[in-house]
């Protein structure tokens, strides 16, 4: 698959490309549909409720019913909204979450593209989705969504940096920013062991990046009602939500790849289970972790969030980088 980029484009090849894109889209949409279902079930159990159980057997069709409801709603644009920006915002928020899946290798052989700068591409493109949030918040011409957008901008600046700095530790260990190389470098021991501090920083920053509890400040229902989404309804709201959920899976996959050996089994003896299963299991775990946190934690305050990022996470990430390079230099000197 990955040779496609280097060969001339023929009609047949183009057809295959479109087909694989559609397959990816379909798989992701299916995953998201059931992720929402499982999330609501899990949250329900954690909160001594039963969760959805009305539509279809065990409520399995609940999300589909919800999506249908959203799709059939009136497409509504507020009178004073900045129309082009308002219409564009959900797409800008949603597209990057899908695009990043292109660089995530599913096993050492299956990847949609295997570009040398995989990690950089992921982080660069993923941060674009915040732009959609800011656009949506601004264009709605609503004070609540403006505050939400303001918070989103502030959060992006303060959490992107620790996120990248934490990931640098992994890059230094692997000596590459290609995601396949990063996984291959974990053959001996998963990065979570030598890079534990980095992993914790990355996880926290990722939660903030995903706007999940305890960092769900841009939506903050009890404060900002729904933040940047206040004026969005129906289909556009669904797109925002979809983007958010897909991003959740993308981030889960990235954490699995960077710190938990991607498709590598925990022990070589478990090699008979295909790599893709391992990756999916790990991805799902990290995609569901935020829901667990959501059931447990309250929300932090915006100033506490900033202080935490700049005064705790940033210095820690820098120390982690210094320490990693020190260890690497000493180890390199010995060998």
């Amino acid at each position: 698959m990955r040779d496609w980029l280097y060969e001339p484009l023929s009609a047949e090849r183009f057809g295959w490309m479109v087909l694989s894109i559609l397959i990816l889209l379909g798989v992701l949409l299916f995953l998201v549909t059931y992720a929402i279902y499982v999330q609501r079930k899990l949250l329900g159990w954690m909160q001594s409720r039963v969760g959805p159980n009305r539509v279809g057997p065990y409520g399995l069709l609940q999300t589909i019913a919800d999506v249908l409801k959203l799709l059939t709603k009136e497409s509504f644009v507020p009178t004073h909204a900045d129309r082009p920006l308002y219409l564009l915002a959900p797409i800008v928020a949603f597209a990057p979450a899908f695009v990043v899946f292109a660089v995530i290798p599913l096993t050492d052989r299956i990847a949609f593209t295997d570009i040398g700068i995989g990690l950089l591409f992921y982080i660069g493109v993923a941060s674009l989705s915040t732009l959609g949030v800011i656009m949506g918040g601004w264009a709605s011409n609503n004070k609540w969504s403006l505050i939400g957008a303001m918070r989103a901008a502030a959060m992006m600046i303060s959490y992107e940096i620790p996120l990248v700095l934490a990931a640098l530790g992994v890059v230094m260990l692997a000596g590459s920013i290609n995601l396949v190389d990063i996984v291959e470098a974990q053959r001996g021991v998963w990065n979570v062991v030598p890079q534990f501090v980095g992993f914790v920083i990355f996880l926290i920053a990722a939660l903030a990046e995903l706007n999940r509890t305890p960092f769900d400040l841009t939506e903050a229902e009890s404060e900002l009602i729904a933040g940047y989404q206040v004026e969005y309804s129906g289909f556009r709201f669904a797109i925002f939500m979809l983007g958010e959920y897909v991003y959740l899976f993308a981030m889960g996959a990235l954490i699995a790849i960077l710190y938990f050996g991607g498709w590598l089994p925990p022990h070589p003896a478990l090699d008979f289970i295909p790599g893709i299963v391992w990756l999916v299991v790990k991805t799902l775990f990290f995609a569901y972790l935020p829901f667990w946190l959501q059931a447990t934690f309250p929300r932090v305050r915006i100033d506490q969030l900033m202080t935490f990022s700049w005064k705790v996470l940033m210095p820690l990430a820098l120390v982690n980088i210094a320490f990693t390079s020190l260890v690497k230099t000493i180890a390199g000197g010995v060998s």
Binding site: Q47, P214, R299, R301, I302, Q304
Partner: protein, 367 residues
């Protein structure tokens, strides 16, 4: 040069965290509040004026709808004032039933506060845990009075219904025992949480002088170090028979108010426990009274400790079946007056937390 401007933001009356139809217009600079103007009255029904045309017994359902989270205590405040005016002797069994009902209602009311307050600061799960416990109390009340929220259970001279004879007291006893575990669960899930503490400690502070100057009562006053609880200061009903404490803290911040309400849950639990143990085995539940109640001419002011503070009732009687004038001192209304002062300089997240910690019920604020 970038021009900055203050923004007027209208919070409520449909905002999810204003606990009903409260509205506050805030002027914000970024996220910092420069000025706050509360707007109340969306739920005003003119209870006091309506009461002038009603007999005393007919006023009871109106007290249900003032502080609808603790209707038992609202009922009691009214009947207690009328009984004081008439100098009535209340049968012991009725007094015990009243205390059990009031303290269970205080627990239910504080549970609603606990759940919604944590929703305010962004935690979802405690709300459902709190409502799970509250549901048990509401079931007990439905068995006792037939209603889940607006009980109208108290009557002048006693209570309307006797204990259901299918082991109701046993079920109260069981709830009270189980509730210990639930309280522990709340503390494990919430009180120890670093984020909760970071959000609450040192925020929304005021000192004792301010609290007294604004006439605050209840937890809002006790969080500044004044041990004033009407149940102890001016004992009414049979509260002098029970062993309970008045929790007091001195910090005056959100954290102090949170801990006080949690401590009051435990104290109310203890009162119910003792009341169930001492419950008299027989006796009347209503004093002997004429069909139409005509208190003697004169005036009376009595107050009781509601979950929100001192709930006072003033009655001016001309010896007729209807009061000439009745006034309710509603603690939510009085406590709310401090809000504009507290909000200045805080950000939006703190605004919600401060409003929640005052613990208002809009039915009572607007009456």
């Amino acid at each position: 040069m970038i021009r900055t401007e203050e923004m007027l933001l209208n919070v409520g009356p449909q905002h999810p965290s204003t606990h009903g139809v409260f509205r506050v217009i805030v002027k914000i600079d970024g996220e910092t509040i420069v000025e706050a103007t509360p707007v109340i009255g969306y739920l005003h029904r003119g209870t006091e004026k309506l009461a002038e045309d009603l007999t005393y017994t007919q006023i009871i359902p109106y007290t249900d709808r003032m502080d609808y989270l603790s209707a038992m205590i609202g009922n009691y405040a009214l009947v207690h004032a009328v009984e004081t005016l008439m100098g009535l002797e209340i049968p012991e069994r009725a007094e015990y039933l009243r205390v059990i009902a009031m303290e269970l209602n205080r627990i239910a009311s504080h549970l609603v506060w606990f759940g919604t307050y944590l929703l305010d600061i962004g935690a979802l799960t405690p709300f459902l845990y709190a409502f799970r416990e509250r549901e048990k109390i509401l079931r007990l009340f439905a068995e006792l009075s037939g209603a889940r929220l607006t009980y109208s259970y108290m009557r002048i001279g006693g209570v309307k219904w006797d204990v259901p004879d299918d082991g109701w007291l046993g079920r109260v006893r069981r709830f009270i025992d189980d509730f210990k575990g639930a309280l522990e669960e709340f503390h494990t899930l919430v009180t120890g949480n670093e984020i909760v503490q970071a959000r609450l400690k040192g925020v929304g502070k005021y000192d004792q002088e301010t609290a007294i100057a604004y006439g605050l009562t209840g937890v809002n006053l006790r969080s500044t170090g004044v041990a004033y609880d009407v149940r102890k200061a001016k004992p009414y009903s049979i509260y002098d028979r029970f062993d309970f404490e008045v929790p007091v803290r001195t910090e005056g911040d959100l954290w102090a108010r949170y801990l006080l309400r949690m401590a009051e849950l435990e104290q109310s639990r203890r009162i119910v426990e003792q009341a169930v143990a001492q419950f008299p085995s027989g006796g009347e539940i209503m004093a002997k009274l004429p069909k139409l109640i005509r208190p003697p001419a004169g005036e009376v002011y009595t107050s009781v400790e509601s979950p929100r503070g001192e709930l006072g009732v003033y009655i001016l009687s001309e010896g007729k079946p209807q009061p000439y004038r009745i006034h309710f001192r509603r603690p939510s209304f009085v406590n709310l007056q401090l809000l504009p002062k507290l909000l200045v300089g805080e950000n939006i997240a703190n605004m919600i937390a401060i409003l929640g910690s005052i613990d208002i019920v809009l039915g009572e604020v607007d009456a």
